[in-house]
Symmetry: C2
Subunit: 142 residues, 2 copies
């Protein structure tokens, strides 16, 4: 049985976003969350990222869990901007394949164009999520 | 071959957080991201949530993708608060099992204690993520 309670809640209007707008919104942010699965199920972790040639690029340690989980694997990447007070905002979901970036040529040369990890230590592994689908939606506050 | 570039980046100090602090941090937020897998891989979507008896509780439509993916399934739930300018903040990751809440008794009675979806329409299905592990970390800005 599904749980039901009386609900007088009338929320905001939802608008599905096109791929072009989703990509535009992705570029306005530098923090997103990458999701992948390991032996015990899904994992989701925040990373600092950039968009390069329509793909998501971020940097991690070669020794981190995130590196093991994103070596030629299906992945998702989520970015949002939600105003909790107004209860409106947008979210974008990239689904696709993640893999290590093997070719330094694909990494932006300018320091400012690279994804900048916050954490100290070796962060020499670049990971790319290549989108299969990009979807998003905007919720207009009530 | 892993991609390597010279890296003069010295990031912030990372601190692993205990479970009690993670739960405390979870309670300071009302928006998190739930991750699950469908036939084509991981999905991650933002939801409005509350913590009830140590579990994550949120509401969705019985007809949504999210409902199909979280019917007695492994799931992850992530909450963070990251200051992109200072490049510091914290994140908490709950891993566990998700399922429908069958018993109305388990849903908080006060309207203010219930997770409040932003989106209009029927949102009568409550989903609970029961933690197996709760981990988190704080990054102290440089």
């Amino acid at each position: 049985m599904m749980s039901r309670l009386d609900d007088d809640h009338t929320g905001g209007r939802v608008q599905e976003l096109g791929e072009a707008e989703c990509l535009e919104l992705l570029r306005t942010k530098s923090v997103g969350r990458v999701a992948f699965s390991d032996d015990t199920g899904p994992v989701v972790l925040p990373v600092n990222f950039v968009v390069v040639s329509g793909s998501i690029l971020f940097r991690t340690s070669p020794y981190a869990t995130i590196a093991a989980g994103l070596d030629n694997a299906t992945a998702a990447f989520e970015v949002d901007d939600i105003d909790d007070f107004l209860q409106g905002g947008w979210s974008v979901l990239v689904r696709g394949r993640a893999g290590y970036v093997d070719d330094d040529e694909e990494i932006p040369r300018g320091h400012d164009d690279r994804p900048d990890p916050w954490v100290e230590g070796v962060r020499s592994l670049y990971i790319r999520v290549t989108p299969t689908t990009i979807t998003g939606r905007r919720i207009h506050p009530r």
